[in-house]
Amino acid sequence: MFRLAVTVSALAVMGSVRAQAQMKIEYEDYALDNGLRVLLVEDHSAPVVTVNVWYNVGSRNERVGRSGFAHLFEHMMFQGSANVGKGEHFQLVERAGGSMNGSTNEGRTNYYETLPSNRLNLGLWLEADRMRSLAVTEDNFENQRSTVKEERRLGVDNQPYAPAFTEGSTLIYDSTDCFSYAHSVIGSMDDLDRAEVPDVQAFFDLYYRPNNATLTVVGDFDPAEAKQLIGQYFDDIQRGAEPPRIACNYDFEAGARSRTWDDQHANLPAVIVAYRAPPHSHGDTRPLTFLSTILGEGESSRLNRGLVRDEQSSVQAASFLNSRRGPGMFLALAIANQGVEADVLREQLNREVERIISEGISDAELEKAKNAFRASYVFQSQTSMQIAERLQHYIHYHDSLDDMATDLELYMQVTAEDIQRVAAEYLKSENSYTIIIVPKAGSGEEVVP
């Protein structure tokens, strides 16, 4: 037993060293006079290039009364600019054989094009044109407001469990002490209705300036040529003022809270236990990541084995860590089987958590978590887009690109004791908010069968 454990962990360390050696990413890091940070990664393994821009703004920057605005604004970035007509962005990328998109989360908004490498100039120009001259019209704005509201209706309001998951889990943060994380990315319907065209220009002027953006270019290009194009397209874009800082206060000992949540689309009760977690850059993120894998990710996880297979009390039981630039959240959740009361489920969820706190985890579980992490880390380093996102991640979530070289190794050094310790520290009832989802036909306004 002892010997086996030693062999396995020696293998894991060897593997990780090897992965590090082969995954070192060489980059060039510089800034334009207007503050735009630029990262270049040459990789000639395929004639493909990714242009990827992160704006340092997400739902955490929204103010009271404008929840959902960062995402609504992201939609506006595809509506045209001084030299790109409505719908033309997509068409130009398609005709070049490329792919493109954008997305918003709590901490950032990203935009990207992956193109054959001879169209690097097109990707850079499209990003530059909207950074310098976004076209904001009343028509486009109304149109995108309804698109986003429809997105909310389809993706959240009309899905069982989604409102509690999306909105309920934000309850662990207090909206007066930390509005940034006390509301959802998609925002409320009322706030989406409140947004006005002048807000768009103000948001653009405050957050969409080069000094609040990072441009990464990854793939098959000549650095001198790329720098020349970046200078030509971006140099004369005006710098903006420094965006305001974010204030967020929270307490891991705030005391256990709970509430019920009526769900008109759910037909089985469910329980979500949300716990506050430290910001991503905190060292405890690594053991918390593994804790989530062991507790509730995959067929062989504690929750699936305990609640779904052994007790047969749940149709589904899982956990996950939403690690963010600011404070995060760790969720454990289960949907009841027919005839099972929510209270039973809540007890069983807590029992699985407490078992880890008191007894710890096995060596096999630790190895599985490490292997799964290492595999997904490596699998997600394959395309130019994945590399670009990784650089951006370390810049924004770690505030240090240097972490990129050591992070995987630090994950491989996590011990079973670390995992037990963070379970005790964060997955305690004083740090939790429990939401009991009650199926309630007809409790809401919008019902679409």
Partner: protein, 692 residues
């Protein structure tokens, strides 16, 4: 460095243009902006493409084991990842007659248990190292594939070989798979796109094996022996191709292949390449879907064998016609006419012969206009050269997007495997972009005359026959079938419905309870009762669907000798709002007020006052009617039913689709499985069969 020098030297035209622009820009920027650098001017138009970079398609090495297995290795040590895919000529085209779907079932079961591992152990082992293992079957090939970190390449080999050589195909797993496929087949019947795809394949390929697909009958006929004998016969090393790509040496691959697959023996019996049907004048197959609000149109024909050089110009022509939101079909049928949400064209490649197909889903009333326009656009592709701008855009996409599809070792492996399996030359991938770039308008037009044949095409339209038959028949000879494939005559589209012959000797008070299922999940329940009250027969039903916030109590007064309705009263609530219907049937008329839930969730109120033909029953009586029909396998009943909520008479067809064993707390019963089509809805019923 060498690379970029070569590039600058090679793009005289583009380079010159850029430097010229640069000269102007210098002046402007120093005058006006006094800007930060000596840069070219900011362009107000999209910058032009520079020269296409050469595509270095990875080298690959091939070897062969003594048992005939061909091995292809793409060494790539950029990342510690290894992808394995074992491809065998064992796709659905090898399904024995009557057992269509067998290859797919085998692929579903092959990872579900071996002599030494349970299904759970297999998934735990592969998940434990963060890897994946999956088997699939398409028309030509059977594939088992796995992706893992390089450290675990041996485990991937071992699990794949174990599944291939020692799977036990447990009976319980077969039954699970059968149940899952049966419910997806049932769902397919109400999915117009799935129906169109099924009947397009059977029409375009005629007697060729590509024509066949899984049916309820073939699924029921497949037993464990069929599964093991297919696996034993078809999953043989001769003709198989093992493709490994990633961070692994070819020597290591060879030694692992010998260790794990060296003992694998066998030769799959040869199957002669079948001939596709000879072209014949365009005919329309109308799949009647009563009440359908839209028509799904597919137009096409068999096209090219894999090695045909016409492939490149055909791909360009196809892209111009219907390869996305930037192509003719989309721009005309959607953007210009507003007939459809989308309309596209595609070229499918198969080992024997592929097919060309154009598709559109259109509103019922424009079905004939849309089909006419599609055929017209096909003809234009054959007769008029593609204008330069369209040709440039189409080639831009095709040439440009190719490198994006070979970024990862798995993508490389699958491209190389496909090339090999289709028998294309080793230089195929390396010269793919150049071959596309070389296509001109004449070549594309010539290819279109071969692959787009509007006058000898197969047309499948799934839609409401009553509304569209006459208009389609004016375009081309039209044959009609129902969703099950049975032939219909034009008269069947307007069924002369007479009163049903009912066997009322079974009439007796009864009480039933039902579970209401949606996609296999219980979402509510219903209780119904039939009782005699004086000279009347009362049918009462209570339905509760918590998920929809729906409760409803229905009472119908009936004439016991004819089973026709006298009155219907419904009281209920939906999402907290009351909903009521009160209607009376008298002297060939129905009148009253009805409320119904709209797709938007709104409750609509309808004043009903209309005449109805004799024999029309209330829609609520379909369920209680079942015991009084003379049920037997294959029997079918058509009845007019008045749907008060929509104020229309619907033609309801009930069909006995099979028998099955149903287990309830009271025991196991033999039951008839029935399907009823009511407008766009397919309803399933089960009713006890007489014993004996």
């Amino acid at each position: 460095m060498k690379r970029s020098e070569r590039r600058n030297g090679g793009t005289a035209e583009n380079t010159r243009r850029r430097y010229t622009l640069g000269g102007v820009a210098f002046a402007v920027s120093s005058m006006v902006l006094a800007g930060p650098g000596l840069h070219a001017q900011y362009p107000t138009e999209p910058p032009p493409a520079t020269e296409l970079r050469p595509l270095q398609f990875p080298d690959f090495h091939t070897t062969r084991l003594d048992n005939g297995l061909e091995i292809l290795v793409v060494e790539n040590d950029r990342l510690p990842v290894v992808s394995i895919s074992l491809n065998l000529p064992g796709g659905s085209r090898y399904d024995p007659p009557g057992l269509h779907g067998l290859a797919e079932i085998v692929s579903e079961l092959i990872t579900k248990g071996t002599e030494t591992r349970t299904a759970e152990q297999i998934s735990e082992q592969i998940e434990g190292v963060g890897g994946s293992l999956i088997a699939t079957a398409n028309a030509d090939f059977f594939t088992i594939s796995s992706t893992v970190l390089a450290d675990h390449a041996e485990l991937a080999f071992e699990l794949m070989a174990d599944a291939l050589l020692h799977s036990t195909f447990p009976q319980a797993e077969l039954e699970l798979a059968r149940t899952r496929y049966l419910s997806s087949l049932a769902a397919e019947k109400s999915d117009p796109d799935a129906l169109a795809t099924r009947y397009f394949a059977s029409s375009v390929y005629g007697d060729h094996p590509y024509a066949r697909s899984m049916t309820e009958a073939s699924l029921a006929a497949i037993n464990r022996n069929d599964v093991t004998s297919f696996a034993g016969m078809r999953l043989a090393p001769t003709g198989a191709l093992l493709v490994i790509s990633g961070d692994i040496s070819r020597d290591r691959v060879t030694s692992m292949a010998r260790r794990y697959l060296g003992s694998w023996q066998g030769v799959a019996p040869e199957v002669l390449a079948a001939e596709p049907p000879a072209p014949k004048p365009t005919e329309i197959l109308l799949v009647h879907r009563p009440g359908s609000a839209q028509s799904n149109i597919m137009v096409g024909n068999t096209a090219l064998s894999p090695k045909d050089d016409l492939y490149y110009p055909a791909v360009v022509a196809n892209k111009v016609l219907g390869g996305g939101a930037d192509a003719r079909l989309f721009l005309i049928l959607r953007e210009e006419k507003g007939w459809t949400y989308g309309s596209y064209a595609s070229l499918a490649r198969r080992k024997d012969v592929g097919f060309f197909r154009a598709t559109a889903e259109v509103r019922t009333e424009v079905t004939d206009s849309a089909l006419t326009e599609m055929l017209h656009q096909l003809r234009l592709m054959r007769t008029e050269a593609i204008p330069d701008s369209e040709l440039t855009n189409a080639k831009g996409y095709l040439v440009g997007s190719f490198p994006l599809s070979i970024q990862t070792p798995q993508q490389v492996a699958s491209q190389v495997a496909r090339t090999r399996l289709l028998g294309l030359g080793d230089d195929y991938l390396g010269s793919y972009r150049e071959n596309l770039a070389a296509v001109d308008a004449t070549a594309a037009m010539n290819a279109a005359t071969v692959v787009m044949r509007p006058d000898s095409a197969v047309v499948v339209v799934v839609g409401d026959g009553q509304s569209i038959y006459d208009k389609l028949a004016a375009i081309a000879p039209t044959r009609i079938i129902d969703a099950d494939g049975s032939s219909l005559t034009p008269d069947d589209l307007n069924p002369a419905v007479t009163a049903l012959e009912l066997d009322l000797t079974h009439l007796a008070a009864r009480r039933d309870s039902f579970q209401i299922a949606f996609q296999g999940n219980a979402i509510g329940h219903a209780v119904s009762a039939l009782v005699t009250e004086g000279d009347a027969l009362m049918y009462w039903e209570q339905t509760v669907i918590p998920m929809m916030g729906m409760t409803q109590e229905t009472s119908v007064e009936l004439n016991p000798s004819t089973f026709t309705s006298r009155s219907v009263d419904i009281v209920g609530s939906f999402g907290g709002r009351p909903i009521e219907t009160h209607i009376v049937y008298q002297d060939g008329r129905v009148s009253g007020r009805a409320q119904d839930i709209q797709p938007t969730g709104e409750i609509a109120t309808v004043d009903v006052d209309t005449s109805i033909v004799a024999g029309t029953i209330d829609l609520n009586l379909i369920q209680p009617l079942l015991p009084f029909l003379s049920l037997q396998p294959g029997a079918s009943f058509t009845v007019n039913a008045f749907d008060a909520g929509s104020n229309v008479v619907r033609v309801v067809t009930l069909k006995v689709t099979g028998t099955e064993e149903v287990t309830v707390p009271a025991g196991t019963f033999s039951a008839f499985r029935m399907a009823g089509t009511i407008g766009d809805l397919l309803r399933q019923y089960r009713h006890p069969a007489p014993r004996g």
